[in-house]
């Protein structure tokens, strides 16, 4: 099913997308998208939505099981409180990606902005995975409570830009961040520490990256050429004593 989104108001576009989903469409192609908000929000079925153009903010919020493929760049707030499914972005993406995300996958080919993976969480089998192939802004993994963030630093349009920003992992108290190559430890928050990957970590990471490489037709061997490090919180309650000392 094809929808030409040129000049279509976001509310009308999303109504048409939802009607197509309710009508049992398996594949929905959106052409000429530019800036329409809320695409794919709350969609509860494993349908594939392919977007040509730049979708607006709040893509795939509360999404539960659908796949969204963005062939261009994307904007802010992708995958807010997403439950299941996948978003694949073939360009860069903006700030606050995966906010409170609790399942599913975000695969971004290039750079990501500030506050990526903020307050991601996991519970039992629900484990959100966010992979950024380029570089990241400040507050990567801020208040992260669960799930997996992976930063490759490989596919950026800006060679001079540092791989990651300041206040990396501020308030992080759960989950894990994998980074390809070294990090600048002076930019890490004091709540987190750098560790070596265990054999199990490596197996898990490879599994995530294999899927990522499939989406973008990349060579997994090339990505694995460099050593990865693991960043995890030192404490599960970093602010336990912030307002008053808590009993031990």
């Amino acid at each position: 099913m094809k929808i030409n989104a040129k000049g279509v108001y976001y509310r009308d576009l999303n109504e048409r997308v939802r009607a197509a989903v309710d009508g049992g469409a398996e594949n929905i192609d959106l052409a000429n998208v530019n800036g329409q908000y809320y695409i794919g929000d709350g969609i509860n079925r494993p349908v594939t939505i392919t977007i040509q153009g730049v979708p607006g903010n709040d893509l795939a919020a509360f999404m539960n099981g659908a796949t969204i493929i963005v062939k261009d760049n994307a904007q802010d707030n992708i995958g807010n409180t997403m439950n299941a499914g996948k978003v694949i972005v073939h360009g860069h993406a903006g700030d606050v990606l995966g906010y409170g995300m609790r399942g599913g996958k975000l695969h971004i080919l290039k750079d990501v902005g500030y506050r990526v993976g903020i307050h991601m969480k996991s519970f039992r089998d629900n484990k959100p995975i966010l992979i950024a192939g380029g570089k990241a802004g400040d507050f990567f993994g801020e208040y992260m409570a669960g799930g997996v963030l992976i930063l490759l630093g490989m596919f950026s349009d800006d060679q001079a830009k540092p791989k990651h920003g300041f206040r990396f992992g501020t308030g992080m108290h759960g989950g894990v961040i994998y980074v390809r190559g070294p990090v600048d430890e002076s930019k890490l928050a004091r709540e987190v520490g750098v560790f070596e990957l265990t054999l199990e970590d490596r197996k898990e990471l490879e599994e995530y990256l294999r899927d990522y490489c499939k989406d973008f037709k990349l060579d997994l061997k090339e990505i694995l050429k460099e050593k990865f490090i693991k960043i995890i919180p030192k404490s599960s309650r970093p602010y336990g004593n912030m307002y008053c000392p808590m009993p031990k």
């Binding site: 908000y37 903010n57 860069h92 903006g94 700030d95 902005g113 400040d138 920003g165």
Partner: protein
């Protein structure tokens, strides 16, 4: 669908943001107003109809030696008093109504007039100005403050050479229609779509805020408004627009025009790095930043912001230090674009050479090439 009764209120959650967009041709190519209108209209839903506005540079080539005063009058007496004041303090080359067209979307607009003026020779100038080595620009600033502060119902919307601001209550595309902006051509344009949060939505409170040829559009909140305002008052700047953003226009005038800071350094005073980041800098840079923070502590803008500021020399985009508001930039040939959303740029430049998100606190500076204009 057609006969469905329309409710007067839409009860779904409003999307609360401001939207901003701007462009510059570094070689001074003239761009029609329709281009920036298209860009800001894409972000219609970032505002709520309580404020929209535009700044345009290069629009008055026939009067480029004159200060173009855009005046807004809420009452007839305000107009009379102001014209009397202007007549006493300026040599007026040309005065006219700012062309507008009636629009159902715009209710009860104030009266808009523009005056192309020169300051009087020092010998004829009243007041203490002539003893203080006032420049022409200082004179204009003093009179702008005097009108805004002293004449009830009269406000200077802009006061620079070869530029003008057009703003009011409504969505930006409605104000563009009202002010017939498609009839203007400029080499720098900025636009704003307002969603007022802390201060009233009134005609003078719409963006851009201006002084001389400085103009600023802003998305965010300036929590340090009180400190900034008191600091500016010591230098004779009076805040009269009931909105935080006003301080930024005056601060730029003070830091760049009066104190001679570069736009880069002024940006670092407005959005200084945190002390812990300064501690990590190489010696020379650390000393510079320490000095900036010590001298210009009261110029620091606290709170979330993305701003675009322009002058006849160029366009600058700046985020707060932790990037709490969106800002995306793009380049195509000699054009530089800056906006709250990439889609607003792609709407008017579908295939830029480069698109990037600037870091918090790092100004993006696009200067007009030397010798142009």
């Amino acid at each position: 669908m057609m006969n469905k009764r329309k409710s007067t209120h839409y009860f779904q959650k409003d999307i609360s943001n401001c939207g901003l967009t701007g462009l510059i041709s570094k070689t001074g190519q003239m761009v029609e107003g329709s281009v920036i209108i298209k860009s800001i209209t894409l972000m219609h839903d970032r505002g709520n109809g309580l404020g929209g506005g535009f700044a345009a540079y290069g629009i008055y080539p026939d009067y480029k030696e004159f200060f173009a005063l855009h005046l807004m009058y809420q009452t007839q007496p305000a107009l009379q008093l102001t014209e009397e004041y202007l007549g006493q303090n300026f040599a007026i080359e040309q005065e006219e109504d700012i062309p507008t067209r009636q629009s159902p979307a715009i209710s009860n607009p104030p009266t808009f007039k523009r005056y192309f003026v020169k300051t009087l020779p020092v010998t004829k100038s009243k007041g203490a100005g002539k003893f203080k080595k006032f420049t022409e620009e200082d004179e204009v600033v003093r009179h702008v403050m005097q009108i805004n502060h002293g004449i009830e119902g009269a406000f200077v919307v802009s006061s620079g050479k070869n530029m003008g601001a057009f703003k009011g209550v409504g969505y930006p595309e409605e104000l563009a229609e009202f002010f017939r902006l498609e009839e203007y051509k400029g080499y720098i344009w900025t636009a704003h779509n307002r969603f007022p949060t802390n201060t009233p939505g009134w005609w003078g409170g719409a963006h851009p805020f201006t002084l001389l040829d400085w103009s600023i559009v802003h998305n965010g909140e300036i929590s340090s408004y009180g400190i900034n305002k008191r600091y500016l008052e010591m230098y004779g700047y009076l805040c009269t627009m009931l909105t935080d953003t006003e301080v930024v226009a005056y601060m730029l005038d003070l830091l760049i025009r009066k104190h001679g800071l570069t736009p880069e350094l002024a940006s670092l005073a407005l959005a200084s790095p945190f002390w812990d980041n300064i501690d990590r800098m190489p010696t020379e840079e650390r000393e510079l930043m320490t000095a900036i923070r010590q001298v210009y502590g009261s110029a620091l803008l606290n709170g979330p912001f993305a701003i675009l500021f322009a002058s006849n020399e160029g366009l600058v985009g700046l985020n707060d230090r932790v990037k709490l508001r969106p800002l995306v930039c793009a380049e195509k040939g000699d054009f530089v674009y800056m906006a709250s959303e990439e889609a607003a740029i792609r709407e008017i430049c579908s295939a830029p050479d480069r698109v990037w998100a600037p870091r918090g606190g790092e100004p993006v500076i696009a200067r007009l090439n030397k010798g142009v204009m």
